[in-house]
């Protein structure tokens, strides 16, 4: 099983992407998509050294909802800041300590922080214990770190590690 179908989740995602790309749901296209989804993971296997396990699918759904909500909110906040006076902005570099261990969790956290209110991941510390973020306009550094840790890091830790 493991050798015949190395990565079932990737197979399904690739098949869906193929169907979207060909923009039809004909049976032939579905079969071709599944074939590609079965063949490609053999070549991509070395990029996925450790197995990805989702522990709590419900938390993942809730996290996705929070993320979508925050992305839209962040866009309005950033738009208002751009239209306001540039002199009034208080940008800052902030070191956010992280407790995540898995590579995948860390990259998701870095990407999330980039799409949410006024922050941007810039650098991962060499010891993998903290991420350097740049915030566009921050009043209270402690509150910012608290938001990142409770709102994004905690659910990610629950989903990908345990």
């Amino acid at each position: 099983m493991q050798r015949l179908l190395p990565h079932p989740l990737l197979t399904i995602i690739l098949a869906i992407i193929w169907l979207l790309l060909s923009n039809s749901i004909a049976l032939g296209q579905a079969a071709l998509g599944l074939l590609l989804g079965w063949a490609i993971p053999f070549f991509a296997l070395q990029f996925w050294p450790d197995k990805l396990k989702v522990h709590k699918p419900l938390t993942l759904l809730k996290f996705s909802y929070i993320l979508l909500h925050d992305i839209v909110e962040a866009n309005f906040i950033v738009a208002l800041r751009i239209l306001g006076k540039p002199e009034k902005l208080r940008p800052a570099f902030i070191v956010v300590p992280i407790d995540l261990n898995s590579d995948f969790g860390m990259s998701i956290l870095a990407n999330t922080s980039c799409l949410t209110p006024g922050s941007l991941s810039a650098l991962l510390a060499p010891d993998r214990k903290s991420i350097l973020m740049h915030a566009m306009d921050v009043e209270d550094v402690d509150a910012f770190i608290h938001t990142v840790k409770t709102r994004y890091e905690k659910p990610l830790k629950e989903i990908f590690e345990e």
Partner: protein, 122 residues
């Protein structure tokens, strides 16, 4: 095409274009590289996302069946925008591009992360 759909499409198109414009305005208007990075990564991504969703709804309503391949570009942009922003910030820090606030020194950042829970670097 009915009137509700037409209003929805018009609103999506104008909002999308407005966000795209505001993102680029941020790129032209803000005062240092690191704050400029925020405009295009957030505003432009959502703006183009809105336009692509409008396109998806428009071609689906044309009667040739569902048109969902625009979702691919939207997803792709949402995945790649943070990555290119991260790489740009990293290369700017590497080149020591000047900023309004003092640049964090890599060594200091590492030291602080070991001894204190967090530290502002200014």
């Amino acid at each position: 095409m009915n009137i509700v759909l037409e209003v929805l499409l018009s609103v999506l198109i104008v909002t999308g274009a407005l966000f795209t414009f505001i993102g680029s305005l941020g790129l032209a208007r803000l005062r240092d590289f690191y704050t400029r990075l925020h405009g295009p990564t957030k505003g432009t991504t959502l703006g183009v996302g809105c336009l692509l969703i409008a396109s998806s709804i428009f071609f689906s309503s044309q009667g040739d069946g569902l048109s969902l391949h625009e979702v691919l570009i939207t997803l792709f942009l949402f995945i790649t925008a943070p990555i290119s922003a991260h790489l740009l910030a990293k290369s700017a820090l590497h080149l020591k591009v000047e900023s309004l606030v003092p640049l964090p020194d890599e060594a200091i950042a590492r030291k602080n992360s070991q001894h204190k829970p967090y530290q502002t670097l200014d």
